[in-house]
């Protein structure tokens, strides 16, 4: 009677174990495809490593000489923890570890070896209960049926209904359940059960907590992905704003992309603002497009001739945050509350068309848009945009544009330069090193093509931390690895810039 019970229990375990094992493999493959792209490569490498690891696990099983049952129970609990937490761990560590692939394949290997260990141990547990031919036929057929169940459940039920993180926890619970049941029904055959019970119940409760809190854990994983303490997170209609702090370093992320780090943003903003303003003889009316953090405005306000600053930023949440938040106003020195500055929350393209109608004219324009990573933003770097911009510029006006990295995205950088020239602007490209960004590029441009080459820059304002006459002049030298190359003209109807940008930054992901 007892042995029949044990037989049934152990055979049910085979089925559960097989299902769980395949689910972990599918989760790892899916996650790798989500996070790394190229699903064919991810799935085949994950499956390959997993199957190989199962082989290793099976081979290792021969070294388990005694306490086969206790080892089996321990393996169950270990799998339940590693497999159950796998999706959560991979999600939360994606951006944190130097090589995500090492972590991914280590976890796949570990899970695979433990799963590989399970079946041989089970076979040994059952070897006295069944004839060899029955044993092999039942265990292996249940194993394969379990695999079928998993492969059907995964795409049809688990991913759409539970999501990856919660599915992993659910199957972790099943594994732990098998271990606990074995522990309960076969308690007579085990000595020193207390440790096993403790481990099993601990695993089970951790997994239950994980299962219930999966949503919160996922949010936490997102936070962990920023590697810093999130002190503010908000989704505006246009973007997700996340502000983090690590010791004295404040960082702003928009849709996960770093916008500035308070440690070195002065390098970026001094370089964005002063070269353009010292080339405009007495800049009175300055336009800032983008730059809702007020950091460029802070630099503009160092120039006493400036009478008005018009700041156009799409996102009113962003400008409100940087005008009011007590952690942020010291950073921009309250620039957004300056009486000289007024904010217009509008899309820059639409705003320009309206400004042309209002006959607005500016002496200097500072363009601080996000990088051209999608078609909507790509339009703001097009010939059409620069043609409209020209109509709000005085003839002797100068503009500066942040233009992504000329080192990491050389074609993108020179594409913007070529686009400006194709629209009849004179250009003067330059670059500086911003540690948190890397080598970064800017372009000065003037609507009168000859103006920039003829103008002598005026003196830089006092109190700058990065720009001096020397660093200023050196910025205009381009070494061969960032030198100009033909990259095409970005037009609304071709959007070559977005394509260059995807290709070039794609290599860094």
């Amino acid at each position: 009677m007892e042995s029949r019970g044990m037989r049934l229990l152990l055979l049910a375990s085979v089925f559960t174990i097989a299902t769980c094992g395949l689910i972990y493999e599918l989760i790892a493959g899916t996650l790798a495809s989500y996070l790394l792209g190229d699903s064919v490569t991810q799935f085949s490498t994950v499956i390959g490593v997993y199957l190989f690891a199962m082989g290793v696990g099976s081979w290792i099983s021969k070294f388990v000489k005694k306490d086969v049952l206790a080892t089996f129970v321990r393996v169950e609990f270990l799998i339940s923890l590693i497999g159950g937490f796998s999706a959560f761990i991979l999600f939360s560590l994606f951006d944190q570890v130097a090589s995500f692939r090492v972590l991914l394949y280590s976890m796949v290997f570990l899970t695979g070896s433990l799963v590989g260990l399970e079946i041989p141990l089970l076979l040994r547990l059952l070897k006295d209960e069944l004839r060899f031919e029955d044993l092999v036929s039942r265990v292996l057929s249940l194993d394969y049926i379990g695999a079928l169940a998993a492969s059907l459940l995964f795409p049809l039920v688990l991913v759409p209904k539970l999501g990856l993180v919660r599915s992993a926890f659910l199957f972790g619970l099943l594994n732990a359940g098998v271990g606990l049941l074995a522990l309960h029904f076969l308690r007579d055959q085990l000595r020193r059960q207390r440790g096993l019970w403790f481990g099993g119940l601990l695993s089970f409760s951790l997994l239950i907590t994980g299962f219930i809190q999966a949503d919160r854990l996922q949010a936490w994983a997102e936070r962990a992905a920023y590697n810093e303490n999130v002190i503010f997170a908000h989704s505006s209609p246009y973007q997700r704003l996340v502000l983090t702090r690590h010791r004295d370093d404040l960082r702003l992320y928009l849709n996960g992309n770093l916008q500035f780090s308070s440690r070195d943003e002065y390098r970026y903003h001094e370089s964005l603002v002063h070269p353009v303003l010292v080339r405009s003889s007495t800049p009175k009316h300055v336009l800032i497009l983008g730059g809702g953090d007020g950091l460029a405005a802070r630099e503009v306000l160092r120039h006493p001739t400036v009478e008005t600053i018009t700041l156009v930023d799409l996102d009113s949440e962003m400008t409100r945050l940087f005008a009011q938040h007590p952690l942020l106003t010291p950073l921009n020195q309250g620039s957004l509350n300056s009486p000289k500055l007024h904010i217009e929350n509008a899309d820059a393209f639409t705003w320009l068309e309206e400004a042309i109608g209002r006959s607005l004219r500016f002496d200097a324009v500072i363009i601080d848009f996000p990088d051209p990573s999608n078609f909507s933003i790509g339009k703001l770097y097009s010939t059409s945009f620069y043609e409209k911009l020209r109509r709000v510029l005085r003839p002797e006006a100068v503009i500066s544009i942040q233009c992504t990295s000329p080192l990491a995205a050389r074609k993108s950088f020179w594409c913007i330069e070529e686009t400006l020239r194709a629209t009849g602007y004179g250009t003067l490209p330059y670059h500086v090193y911003v540690p948190s960004f890397g080598e970064w590029g800017f372009i000065l441009a003037s609507p009168s093509p000859a103006f920039l080459s003829g103008v002598t820059p005026g003196p830089l304002p006092a109190g700058l931390r990065y720009l001096t006459d020397e660093t200023h002049l050196a910025a205009f030298q381009f070494p061969p690895d960032m030198a100009q190359l033909p990259a095409g003209v970005n037009r609304l109807n071709n959007q070559v810039l977005v394509r260059h940008f995807e290709e070039e930054w794609g290599r860094y992901e």
């Binding site: 799409l314 899309d347 393209f349 078609f375 043609e387 071709n494 977005v498």
Partner: protein, 501 residues
């Protein structure tokens, strides 16, 4: 008469049913909208002379579609006094458009391919409308990138020709096909003219080329050993897109014309489609348009009779010249004794506009591979601001699964709910969530959307006869060649020039 009443009763009945019993799952508004079928069908009765006293007129243009309006514009600019009589309450014809709180959107023609510099009439007109000139077209109105993608085997591919999963032989075949089309683009006939030109009238009459009008495009492809299903789908799609009929129906000459007549693949487009051009024409013709009037009779002597839509009051004009810019299936009922005048056959279409609460595509033209529809275009695509709000999708389906008359009958009998189900089922592959974002869906049925270039039509004697004037009546409509903006523009200019000569 009976038939008309019963159809009206049927339509009214099905609308009322729809209103009383809104389906539980339907969370959007909308209905079947469209051309004035019933008012227009008054013409099924023989044209009867009215005794209304004729007003004196210089040039009367019957039909306010693209060809009629362009003829009117050119005549007006030449100092003539023009009157455009239009059946519907708005001019526009196949370039009709609508507008709601979200966006303007097209009901028919929705783009103009970038003309080459030798297409002088088209270039001049676009230039007058502020779109630039051949050396520098205005970028904002050119279709922004990305402009087309294909839903194929469960994923979106860039461009319309599937390029993955093709073996070498298939790839060679596709290359050979497009190389052949490139050859046709450059080819000139024995008379020195381009083999496939726009307007069609400028094409070569070389008998070797004209012979291509005698077989179907599908037969030509078989003859030339183009067998690959992906390629044949692509050509079939092209024919259905431009002519409303597949490659087994249209002539090889027409099918090749689709690929070989245009130098540029770029197009102008606007939220309201070619309705944008209609609006420019309407502005310039203010005071000269008489909408909401059904023309009942035109005589070669220049008398034009009409009835007003609401009051059914009869009016008549005695004109120096008449431009008949109505499609020929209508025109031949208007001119006494011309019922048997040569006329093409027409393809019926269904067009639907779907208002959705959030953007679902960054691409303008979204083509579905395994579908009877052509897919949809996005009305807000040309917006310069960030694409985050609601949008309107215009969904096109040529009804070419049956012969035109049967397809027309089937379409008119189909309920609004049935159309919705078909459209949403078709779009559920690429957009499984669409139903929950849908706020409004209107369906427009075009009974006679465009002339079908079946073998023998384009280069046969009947079409040649169609362009001959009849007394004071000059004809101008794209059904005299191909249903393209450029052809309407050509015939509009042609009629104006003939009157001014």
């Amino acid at each position: 008469m009976n038939e008309r009443l019963s159809r009206r009763a049927f339509l009214a009945g099905s609308l009322a049913l729809g209103a009383c019993r809104p389906s539980i799952s339907q969370s959007w508004t909308g209905g079947i909208v469209g051309a004035s079928h019933d008012f227009g069908h008054l013409l099924r009765q023989a044209p009867r002379a009215t005794t209304a006293t004729a007003e004196k007129a210089d040039v009367v243009i019957v039909g306010g579609g693209m060809a009629g309006l362009i003829a009117a514009l050119r005549l007006k600019q030449a100092g003539r006094d023009v009157k455009v009589i239009e059946l519907e309450n708005e001019v526009g014809g196949n370039s009709a458009s609508g507008r709601n709180a979200t966006s303007a959107y097209p009901w028919g023609a929705h783009y103009v391919p970038l003309p080459s510099a030798d297409m002088t009439d088209v270039c001049a007109l676009l230039e007058e409308f502020g779109l630039g000139s051949p050396d520098r077209w205005k970028e904002d109105a050119l279709c922004h990138d990305p402009n087309e993608r294909l839903w194929y085997r469960g994923r979106w591919l860039e461009g319309l020709m599937p390029s993955y999963g093709l073996d070498d032989a298939a790839r060679d075949e596709v290359q050979r096909f497009f190389a052949k089309m490139e050859e046709f683009k450059q080819l000139r006939g024995s008379d020195g003219r381009r083999a496939f030109a726009i307007p069609l009238e400028n094409s070569s009459r070389d008998p070797d080329l004209i012979a291509l009008d005698q077989l179907t495009m599908a037969d030509w492809m078989t003859r030339e050993n183009f067998h690959h299903p992906d390629l044949r789908w692509h050509v079939d799609y092209g024919c259905r897109d431009d002519y409303g009929s597949g490659f087994e129906t249209v002539s090889a000459w027409a099918g090749i014309h689709y690929y070989a007549s245009r130098i540029s693949s770029e197009v102008f487009t606007w939220p309201e489609g070619n309705g944008w051009l209609i609006a420019r024409l309407r502005e310039r013709l203010a005071g000269h348009l008489i909408p909401g009037h059904l023309v009942t009779r035109i005589t070669p002597e220049g008398r034009v009779e009409a009835v007003a839509a609401g009051s059914l009051n009869a009016r008549a004009w005695q004109a120096e010249a008449v431009v008949c810019a109505a499609p020929r299936f209508i025109a031949k009922r208007l001119i006494p004794g011309q019922e048997s005048m040569p006329s093409p056959t027409y393809a019926p279409w269904m067009v639907a506009n779907l208002t959705v609460s959030k953007p679902i595509s960054q691409t303008w033209d979204n083509v579905l591979r395994d579908s009877r529809s052509l897919g949809y275009i996005v009305a807000t695509h040309q917006q310069l601001g960030p694409a985050s709000g609601p949008t309107v999708l215009t969904y096109y389906q040529p009804l070419d699964h049956l012969p035109p008359a049967e397809a027309r009958k089937e379409a008119l009998a189909k309920s609004y709910a049935a159309w919705c189900n078909e459209i949403l089922a078709d779009l559920s592959g690429p957009h499984p969530e669409l139903r929950s974002h849908l706020t409004h869906l209107d369906v427009w049925l075009w009974g006679h959307a465009m002339a079908r270039p079946v073998p023998g039509f384009l280069h046969g004697p009947e079409r040649a006869a169609m362009s001959q004037p009849l007394g004071k009546i000059h004809f101008a409509h794209s059904d005299m060649s191909l249903s393209l903006f450029e052809e309407a523009c050509h015939w509009g200019h042609h009629a104006a020039r003939a009157i001014l000569a």
